[in-house]
């Protein structure tokens, strides 16, 4: 089966979910989520059955589409995060119902719930397309498919002001970044005469293209993708949108959307870094943005008291580490050296595990304690030791404690930066990682040191469904295994 069959299956799955929701009178719409997860698990399995493109395959489709190992890895990230997001959405459905149920008394309380389970599947299809896009047109279309789906999902709780505000902010800034992106694409196309990344790369390398124009196109694209991945100074939407969006969607945004942004950035930066004329300035631009992102992301995370907002800043901080890997991309790869793309892919894989684990707990606490403030986590170590342990491991991994997945991500980034001699980036990254220890441990301290106050003091243990328990245990095991044996993930990247 060729790789593109997977996107077709996932897209059809989304349609099936919508149709089932519309025509089968489901009493409990959770079955939609189960159906979606089941389908995605099957697709995840099919991922390992993909046949590589035959050498003589003349299908015109391959001009838009790559089925490299790296693309498949990112497809895996998209599918896995969607499955976990659906699992989270099941736990979170009470809040969605509360803010979307129709006003009429007679109406089914879950009348507004069905699409909440279908939309992530569409977004997943878009993310998978993006992982394979090698043409400006396919990049643009898949990116927009994802972004527009996210507009809907972020603003999904239509009677909740926070969710709507987040939706509007995401809409305006998302559309702004789209504007920059297409304008940049238009210029890139104009100066190279092609939409195909390989041809564009060749044209830039040949030296027939004005470096000024190439840099102009690059800066437009950098601004646009800077918005998508949350790089400073284009990060200001992230805290508000993360805080306002429904928690499962926040998790999806921070994992899926970021991964997608980075694979596009990887592809496009490779095109520019391949050209002698502009490579220096491009790497410099990445280094400046990476340095700013590291500092701003990590330092502004320190005073946060809302956990979701804290995770938003932490996502900015992690974007800083990822950009550092891009900035330190080695010009010429020595034998045995990890390429910057491999490092980014590994980091994103690790980031997926630990961030989703954190958001699983955040979602449960939000539902049962009705709060996202760090205060609400006080005493969690006593009342819900299982969730507290899960969050402890997630925080340790995000902070980069060795023997967890997060450490290797940071380690590889440091290694790249030191190999490249980017000492001031290394310094900033070290400061950032040190600050990270502080703000992640702040949550751990709240869970274990403090006695609960207010409503939380009387609250009983948070019930954990079997599905969530399974998801949490799987994530913990994966984090620890990846912390001992990174080869497991690196092998998948190829």
């Amino acid at each position: 089966m060729p790789a593109y069959a997977l996107e077709i299956i996932v897209f059809s799955l989304g349609l099936v979910l919508l149709l089932v929701d519309a025509f089968a009178k489901l009493e409990d719409k959770r079955s939609l989520a189960w159906l979606g997860m089941l389908g995605l698990v099957v697709v995840f399995g099919l991922l390992f059955k993909v046949e590589p493109r035959a050498a003589d395959d003349a299908n015109v489709f391959w001009r838009f589409y790559s089925d490299s190992r790296m693309s498949l890895f990112f497809k895996g990230i998209a599918i896995l995060s969607t499955i976990l997001v659906l699992a989270m959405a099941i736990d979170y459905r009470g809040l969605i119902e509360k803010f979307t149920a129709p006003a009429e008394k007679k109406a089914h309380p879950q009348a507004g719930l069905g699409e909440f389970f279908a939309l992530p599947v569409f977004a997943c299809a878009g993310l998978m397309c993006m992982a394979s896009a090698t043409n400006l047109v396919s990049i643009f279309v898949s990116l927009e498919a994802v972004t527009i789906t996210f507009y809907v999902m972020v603003a999904y709780m239509r009677r909740n002001v926070g969710s709507l505000e987040a939706g509007v902010k995401y809409l305006i800034l998302g559309a702004l970044s789209t504007g920059f992106l297409v304008y940049g694409f238009a210029w890139l196309y104009g100066i190279t005469g092609s939409m195909d990344l390989a041809e564009i790369g060749a044209a830039l390398k040949s030296g027939d293209v004005s470096p000024t124009a190439a840099l102009f196109a690059f800066s437009l694209i950098l601004v646009a993708l800077g918005f998508k991945v949350g790089a400073v100074p284009f990060q200001m939407w992230i805290p508000d949108v993360y805080q306002g969006a429904p928690t499962p969607i926040t998790a999806f945004l921070s994992v899926g959307s970021k991964a997608a942004g980075f694979i596009v950035l990887l592809r496009l930066s490779a095109v520019f870094l391949g050209s002698e004329a502009v490579a220096g300035q491009v790497a410099m631009a990445f280094a400046v943005v990476a340095g700013l992102t590291l500092i701003v992301g990590n330092l502004t995370a320190i005073p946060q008291s809302n956990f979701k907002r804290l995770l938003a800043y932490s996502s900015i901080a992690h974007a800083g580490f990822l950009l550092t890997a891009l900035a330190a991309a080695p010009r010429k790869l020595e034998a045995g050296q990890l390429s910057s793309a491999t490092v980014v892919a590994f980091y994103l894989g690790a980031y997926l595990l630990m961030t989703l684990l954190a958001f699983l707990v955040v979602g449960l606490v939000r539902v049962h304690r009705d709060s996202e403030e760090i205060e609400a986590y006080r005493g969690l170590g006593k009342s819900s030791p299982f969730l507290a342990l899960a969050l402890l491991i997630a925080m340790a991994s995000l902070a980069g404690v060795p023997l967890t997945a997060g450490f290797f991500g940071k380690f590889f980034v440091f290694q790249l930066a030191i190999q490249g001699g980017h000492w001031w980036l290394v310094t900033l990254a070290a400061i950032g990682a040190g600050a990270g220890f502080y703000y992640y441990l702040k949550v751990v301290a709240a869970m274990y040191w403090d006695d609960p106050t207010g409503a939380a003091a009387k609250a009983a243990a948070i019930p954990v469904s079997a599905l969530t328990r399974a998801a949490v245990v799987t994530l913990i095991v994966l984090i620890v295994i990846a912390g001992f044996a990174p080869r497991m993930i690196l092998g998948l990247i190829g």
Partner: protein
């Protein structure tokens, strides 16, 4: 699975068992006893004649990453063996001396698993023959320490203290990490294995050696509380719960010293030579300035915290001398100091439990009349800490001083190292002053009326046993230092050679 792998992973398995509901104290003690037995077995089977500096016994290796070459690799040479013996002894004493399950306010599982995690982190770091796991296992202990001090620590400021120690150690580790990565890059970055690093190590250019050694010295120095990066240690040890103080001051802190001997000196000999004077100045800060600060302490727990920081100066002196005898002294002192400070913290914990305070003015003295066994054991511990003959500390400190004077045989004149040795000798006087004064104030003064009436129990059997275990170890090595020294010689001679060459 080799014995070494067993020793590293047994505490981790015990933690898992505790998480799944096995009784915490019993499981922890079983794991610690099993580790002690395994360590004993290893010592018996350890060959004294080791051929080269790269050779490790009980080696095991599991490949995790092909390029760069990363292995979950463990093995022992003489230095590791001595430190493993230290760790298993202190671990057993620490879990044994921990309060019974009923008397812990809070999560018992967390209490015992944290101690085990710290022990496992130390064991892993000492046994790893791969740079990556050498670093990684040490970090394993960071979060348990943070949690333990914050939850179970004593005193109003415990949260602040927990933050301080975590931030200091976190920053120190990051500096260290940067240094280690720079070292990897200089050696080609293809392999983490110590053996591979040693093979290419002497080709590092002198400039790079100097820069990296300084980074490593600062990184390790923060972890060992080298002056002026020491300020986290005294309050942390004073406020940490007893087993954490024992494990951290006794064992985990030795990681930085071990790292200097294991990584920094053999790979960066020119760097070590270049920064020797700086190290001498700093270690004199440890011994003299902090020694005087120790005298000024009014509370037994901070006094012990400072004294532990102060004694690190002697180990640094042995390291700075860089010759065989000095290095022998340094490693032996790591062992002796680890045991004696753990013993002191265990007994201080017992005093705090009985009297509710460790303020020496409030304690009022005369405790030995009420609790003779406690007084006697504390006396032994204090004498050991001062370095009286008969205890391992004496043998070790003598070797350190000899080490600092040995170069005079060739140079025939007093250099910086010798001056540092002479000044350090005063440290012995200083430690005698504060230790004996503390002992007199707490145990040998007149009994206050309040205490005379109060029913103060002597040490129970459960409290005596771990203390006796440690004292026996100290005296055995004190009378027959060769017990441990014979294992150290091949490795340390090789390192001393590379420093000379």
């Amino acid at each position: 699975m080799t014995l070494v792998e067993f020793i590293v992973f047994a505490p981790l398995l015990a933690v898992l068992a505790i998480l799944f509901g096995s009784p915490a104290r019993a499981t922890a003690i079983v794991a610690a006893v099993a580790n002690l037995a395994a360590a004993g077995l290893m010592t018996l089977r350890f060959p004294v004649e080791v051929e080269s500096k790269g050779q490790v016994i009980f080696a095991s290796s599991r490949n995790l990453l092909a390029s760069p070459n990363l292995n979950l690799a463990f093995g022992l040479d003489g230095i590791s063996l001595v430190l493993v013996i230290l760790t298993v002894l202190v671990t057993l004493a620490a879990v044994w001396a921990s309060p019974a399950e009923g008397r812990i306010k809070g999560n018992v599982k967390l209490y015992y698993s944290s101690s085990l995690l710290i022990a496992s982190g130390a064991l892993g770091a000492f046994c790893a023959t791969d740079l990556f796991f050498f670093y990684a296992f040490h970090e394993l202990a960071l979060i348990p320490t943070f949690l333990m001090i914050g939850i179970f620590g004593s005193g109003e400021n415990r949260k602040r203290t927990a933050w301080t120690i975590t931030i200091f150690l976190g920053v120190g580790s990051l500096i260290l990490l940067a240094g280690l990565i720079a070292l990897l890059v200089e050696t080609g970055g293809k392999s983490f294995a110590f053996a591979d690093l040693y093979a290419v190590g002497d080709k590092i250019p002198a400039d790079a050696q100097k820069n990296i050694y300084l980074i490593l010295l600062i990184g390790f120095g923060i972890l060992v509380s080298l002056f002026p990066f020491h300020s986290w240690a005294p309050p942390a040890y004073a406020q940490a719960p007893t087993p954490v103080a024992m494990l951290h001051a006794g064992v985990l802190k030795k990681f930085g010293l071990y790292g200097l001997i294991r990584v920094a000196m053999p790979l960066l000999p020119e760097g070590a030579a270049h920064w020797q004077t700086l190290l001498l100045v700093l270690l004199l800060g440890n011994i003299l300035i902090l020694g005087l600060v120790t005298i000024a302490q009014r509370r037994l727990d901070t006094l012990l915290g400072y004294s532990s920081v102060m004694h690190m100066g002697y180990v640094f002196l042995g390291i700075a001398s860089g010759n065989t005898i000095g290095l022998h002294g340094a490693v032996l002192l790591m062992f002796a100091h680890g045991i004696s400070i753990a013993l002191l913290f265990a007994l201080a914990g017992a005093v705090r439990e009985r009297m509710g305070t460790l303020d020496m003015d409030e304690l009022g003295g005369g405790l030995a009349k009420k609790a003779p066994a406690l007084g006697l054991l504390f006396g032994f511990a204090a004498f050991a800490s001062i370095g009286l003959p008969g205890f391992a500390n004496f043998a070790a400190e003598v070797m350190v001083f000899f080490g600092s004077f040995q170069p005079i045989l060739e140079t025939k004149k007093l250099g910086a190292l010798q001056w540092a040795g002479i000044l350090s000798l005063w440290g012995v006087v200083i430690s005698a002053v504060y230790m004996l004064r503390a002992y007199r104030k707490i145990f040998k003064g007149p009994l206050t009326d309040k205490d005379a009436k109060a029913g103060i129990a002597d040490l129970t059997l459960t409290e005596r046993a771990p203390a006796l275990l440690l004292i026996v170890a100290l005296m055995a090595v004190g009378f027959v230092p060769g017990l441990l020294l014979k294992y150290l010689t091949p490795t340390l001679e090789a390192i001393a050679m590379s420093l000379k060459g």
